[in-house]
Amino acid sequence: MADLVGVNGQREDFRVVGKPNLPGKLSYALATGIAKFGADYVLPDMLHAKFLRSPYPNCKIKSIDVSKAWKIPGVVDILTWEDPDLVKLGSGGFGGPPTLWIDNIAEQENAELGVIVTAENEDICEKAFKAMDIEWEILPFLVDVRTAYANNDDYPVIQQKSAAPSMFAAAPSKPKQGNVSYADTVQGDVDAVFAETDADHIIEYEVDLPTFASHIPNVVGSIAWLEDSVYQGEGKNLHIEGAVQRRDSVGRMHGFSAEKTIQEGLFQGGKYCDWGMRKSQEITPLLAKRTGRPVRCVDTREETFGFLMNERFIHMKIAFTDEGLITAIDDFSVADGGTSDNSSFGTANDQGYGPYVTTKCLNIRQHMEIVDSNRGKMYLSGQHCPFNWDSLTVGLYIIAEKLGKDPIDIAKLNLHGPSSQEDTEEVLSFETCIEYGKKMMNWDWHPSGTRTLPDGRKHGAAFRYQICPRHAFSGYDCKLELRSGVVHLPTQGPCTGIYAVECNAMVVAEELGLEYEDIQIDFDYREKFTPVGGGSDGSTASSWAMKECANILKAKILEAAIDQIKNPPAPSMFGGFGGFGGPPQADPFEGVESADELDLVDGMVCLKSDHTKGKRLGQAVSANIFATYSGRPPAAIWSVGMGKMLDTMNTAYCEVAVDEETGEVEILRFGVVADPGKVLRPTSLESQLDQVMYFSQGCQLLEEYVFDDRSGLFLNNNMIDYKKPGMMDVPPVEHGLMETRSGNAAYGASGISHSMANTHLVIIAIHNAIGVWVQPPATPDKILRALGKG
């Protein structure tokens, strides 16, 4: 166990934390249909708004005449990009020129541009767009990244807007040329290793990372209206639903202070780390102001099909010794840079995430050439980041194949110790996961193409490791209240499906000697506390802070109990304590002088020396008590070392059967052995592990963005043609949850965010089965072609 700071960090006895099957605090609302997402809100006299969407992958409105649209019955408002109300929404730009919030330019099909129509219903909006005379300037487009990259010198420059520089991205090695910009991260001297004789072996291989749709389940959008409320003072208040967690910024954008921006809804749907706001979530306040009526603006499914992952083509070169020790890593990648406002997490910023530096190899070069494209926009991040875990995983596998060794042994050989790349000690978390994982999977490694199942199909297996990074970058403002004998945990929520609020409630219950059900969570958008942080059990950083807060409350409760012992409240009309009409009972606190003599156990304030003697919390303390705590746990190793230091880790396994006659792949099973440090809420943690394995399955076997090369149009931005795994597709996922207590947060927990999704675990298992590489998605036709049968 790590040397955990904070109150009770070393706790060994857990009554609540780690308990399965505790219902989520919002689950009953979700299961019964009560829960309202942004798109669900319907108000009397409500209008509907739609954006004009680009029919081309790269275009500009040269001129527009909306006069015929105005004549359509039911059209209430038409705004074009030059309208002062829209111009005012522009920003100063981060380190770049001022940007318009919306203009007459679109860099991808379906992008919002030019015009917003508000009407009595959505059908009328569409009718209005059709009535507009629009002169389009159709511009050259780029949806085939590799071809455009190969012809960069001759390819027309496609980006119409100047991209704002990223505050995170790696420094470019040279200025942008044509559609291509550059990013480099270099450590040591890779060329020297390749040129000299340090390497016994040099391998080169390709890793294609596929585009992956974010595909947020709920259709995204908002509804806004203006209302009077005596509680918020004079003047209209903005009420907006559908912009959960961004209420303040959307309100500010339209001139409303946080105090005058109201939101009640808690439900925002799955985010999968795509925290980017859509224009439909930001525009409704302006439209409501202009029309004086509630306005709803919601994207269609086809319009909510953004990237969660840009495609990337990686060429890897690795040098290694006869033992399998890597001495140089050279990662050259061509990445889809998307539209001008694409997140740099999908490209250059991903380089800084450092899977390569989890190895002992000191010579590492990552050179990325980022190609602007009209394929789409990655809004922020995705569960597959960092992407180059997979290029390393493939490399470890190829080394193992070449040397006739087990890839787990190659990974063990190369993984550095806990403190630095020079550290040769074992990493406890990794060793624990591997030991359990091998047993769970009956791990019995075989070289590629050498094992045939009784039914004639070929068997393949794969393994990968990763770290369990944490989110402890920001602090938390926690508040707890004892009111009428009940502990309240006020929070703004929201509900993103990761049960983060619940983890916090469990920690509070644990520390206060209560049950999970005893903690009353008060959801209120005005509250400061939000348990952000990566995935189920990723709320551990916030719950570390909440643990501190709970112990402050506990101390105050015991002090208040002493105060009440010394100054008992006046007897009530129902008689003395101990019961209505019953005989008076002996005071268990007789002679108690100090809070040090008391404890809070099983819902009772009791004697520390005898837990059976005491009073229920509400009887022992009638005062209202608040406790607050602002802070955060010590910085996570991840945020300090970015992979150069290691604590909590995880491993994943996959077994497949490949039919060489049909090209069909069956995932026989996935295995996940994860060490989140300490398991806080196992039910949702396991569910989250399932989720990322299904994400991985989808991108490796099923999901594919398909563009028409001639028109540049995205052909399958719908749920029929873009296939996600369903109930009958998914394989069993076996779990092993380790608790090394080596994280930095509550009880040594760390969480599992960004730690499991992958693009090549199944691909490696397929190679292990049939001995040939197939890039994702490994559809039967591709497999047959790879086998020379296509």
Binding site: N21, A31, A35, D123, G485, D522, F574, S687, M719
Partner: protein, 259 residues
């Protein structure tokens, strides 16, 4: 038009329990008016007191357009008049006319099952079914299921097994699960999976559904347990003086007894 109860946000400081959720959906269903009192033109927003006036308005102002129709839906055991345009789907009608948002709009193409409702005992997709086709058909939405005490066990199992993450698709799964249990009170895991094959959960909660359904089926097949005694300090039972939820604060539960 949506009623006040359905417009009111489910956020704020509301507490969601099996009981409060049950009461809430029951109120939502009760609040749906059985007959129309206003006739609003969907094209220009003007309101009329009678359907005849609306028809005349169309003849004068929108002669090219199709006049909205009045249909009567048999919804969650109640006959409800609604005024819609003939091309409206049931999903659109439920949300924008009746304030029922449990049938979710996800794919809009009949692929994901998030808008599933039960029509005459059979699961149908509300995003692919015109509301005008459903006159005389008994429709049950997730709200109707949640308002029926019989199905509390299924809802409780769903919640305790976290058969939801973001929860957007959950209602579609739950409606399908209910329809399965209607025709097969003791399904196997494989039967659960087959029944739910048309429902997509992007959060990947798939394995949890069969577990929740089978647990609920088992509990529902057993005779109801007698009311359990409350823990010490509970003078008068739940909500009573000194009992759980009462002014004395949290009471203790016997070991192993869920709250």
């Amino acid at each position: 038009m949506a009623n006040e109860k359905s417009v009111a946000s489910s956020g704020g400081s509301m507490t969601f329990t099996l009981e409060t959720a049950h009461e809430h959906v029951s109120d939502v269903i009760k609040a749906i008016p059985e007959s129309l009192t206003a006739f609003r033109c969907p094209l220009c927003g003007k309101s009329f007191v009678g359907y005849g006036e609306l028809e005349r308005h169309y003849a004068l102002e929108h002669p090219e357009d199709v006049v909205p129709v009045i249909i009567v839906l048999q919804l969650n055991g109640k006959a409800c008049e609604v005024l819609i345009e003939p091309h409206w789907t049931l999903q659109r009608t439920l949300q924008f006319r009746l304030g029922l948002t449990g049938a979710k709009h996800m794919c809009g193409k009949g692929v994901c099952g998030s808008c599933t409702v039960i029509a005459d005992g059979r699961c149908i997709l509300a995003c692919q079914t015109l509301a005008v086709e459903l006159e005389g058909v008994e429709i049950q939405t997730v709200e109707g299921i949640a308002a029926d005490p019989k199905w509390k066990t299924l809802i409780d199992s769903y919640c305790r097994w976290d058969a939801m993450q973001c929860g957007y698709c959950t209602t579609g799964f739950l409606v399908t699960a209910k329809a399965l249990l209607d025709r097969n009170p003791n399904p196997t895991e494989e039967e659960c999976k087959e029944a739910l094959a048309g429902n997509i959960c992007i959060c990947g909660t798939y394995p949890r559904h069969a577990t929740a359904i089978m647990e609920a089926a088992l509990k529902m097949s057993q005779p109801p347990e007698p009311p359990a005694a409350q823990g010490f300090g509970g003078f008068g039972g739940p909500g009573g003086f000194g009992g759980p939820g009462g002014p004395g604060g949290p009471g203790r539960r016997p070991p192993g007894q869920p709250s």
